[in-house]
Symmetry: none
Subunit: 139 residues, 4 copies
Amino acid sequence: MNSTNTAEGISFTLDETSGAPVYRQIIRQIENGVLSGRLKTGDRLPTIRSLAVDLKINPNTIAKAYGELEIRGILATRAGSGTYIADKRPEPEEDMLEAKIREALGRFMREMRDLGADKGEILRLIRAWEDGQGKWSKG
Amino acid sequence: MNSTNTAEGISFTLDETSGAPVYRQIIRQIENGVLSGRLKTGDRLPTIRSLAVDLKINPNTIAKAYGELEIRGILATRAGSGTYIADKRPEPEEDMLEAKIREALGRFMREMRDLGADKGEILRLIRAWEDGQGKWSKG
Amino acid sequence: MNSTNTAEGISFTLDETSGAPVYRQIIRQIENGVLSGRLKTGDRLPTIRSLAVDLKINPNTIAKAYGELEIRGILATRAGSGTYIADKRPEPEEDMLEAKIREALGRFMREMRDLGADKGEILRLIRAWEDGQGKWSKG
Amino acid sequence: MNSTNTAEGISFTLDETSGAPVYRQIIRQIENGVLSGRLKTGDRLPTIRSLAVDLKINPNTIAKAYGELEIRGILATRAGSGTYIADKRPEPEEDMLEAKIREALGRFMREMRDLGADKGEILRLIRAWEDGQGKWSKG
DNA sequence: GTGGTCTAGACCACA
DNA sequence: GTGGTCTAGACCACT
């Protein structure tokens, strides 16, 4: 389904099947990392070039994602040094996080229903889910 | 997050936040319905125009989704009558379904991890999930 | 009767009198080019916009033709780069080509019969046919 | 490729692959029959119903074709009796016929070129063409 | 500059 | 009233 990159406290996974723009997938994953607290002020992000190589996409696409997050004050670029999580982080933390979890859950339950899986089977699948199934272990 | 339509055995939900093209979201939901067996050969889909009104999008967008599925042999059109699930459905049923469930699960666990929810919390949230939270009841 | 475009190894001709949808005429000509071997894996097609200008039709119409062929695995799109004949081409080559030739011949003989031309006259006309009568020379 | 009907001096063949509207295919075949002289003033056409059954299409479609030809003075309907080739036939006979033959030839040569058949092969195929290959015999 | 998505709206073929 | 075709034009993703 995708390609994954792991580095400096965050790993990226692209879902090619969704049709969602790549730069937006990257933005969302950084946002989520910040919201959840896994990414903290001062943490360094992968360089544009290394990430481009790892995800096999054009550097401009990553630059666009980083650029937008910089505009929104979530990232800061120190020339010649790299890209970091900014000091000044937007306030609305806790609610945002809960809302995002709820949304992700809703999307998931909706899709599982469409695929014919009921609550029991979903619970069973998740219990059987192993950290390290490719994209759960690292980060 | 979205708008929903319910009719003739399938309901559609659009996720505006994902960035995924609307016509592709529709395609995926029909595919899933067919794979899971909820949509069967001969079932009639909502008309292009009625679905366009319900989802508040342009009819051409629905036509594009239906059109792609017709090219792929999943839908069949009877001019002046409507759009139906085709007789000739591709074979690879069971495996496809499992693969899609696994993929959806992977995407979900990945996103929940990014958001800082661990397996225990996920299980708790799903157990608390009520059918009828907007998108679970009908179908 | 039509407008013609020549570029990158394929030329397009639209027949306005037939009533056949323009996008389907384009599809058929690309299919034929692939079947006959004149179009090979990796060959680049005219850009949507340039072809639209040449044929004096709307770019969306070309996009629709290319799109259908992409769904069927005959074309591949590289965003920002162009549209190409796909690697993975369906197998049934030889039979398909013969069948298409037979069909075209049948259509033609049928139409000539309706128009009152017998076999002798048809042979005479074809022998007199000159390469370069507008649509025979290039390629 | 099609379905065929034979009756009262004209046989109809529908080409489903072309995408050309059915009613227009019918019109063209009647026009051609008249132009070539095979259909003469007073000749009776198949009834709408019988033709609809034979070609497996909706009677309205045939009614539309007959109706348009009636407007153009090529057909005449005698209530309760049937549809006939009209007395008053449009003048531009000879040139029209030649032009149509030339066009059909051009289309055919163009398509054969696309399919990779050269003049020699075309001549060979036509010489081998047998009356009675399904659509050449009757009428 | 490449293709992709979506809208709005007109007109056609068919049942 | 159903879907199909085409246009014009806006905006986006990606190279």
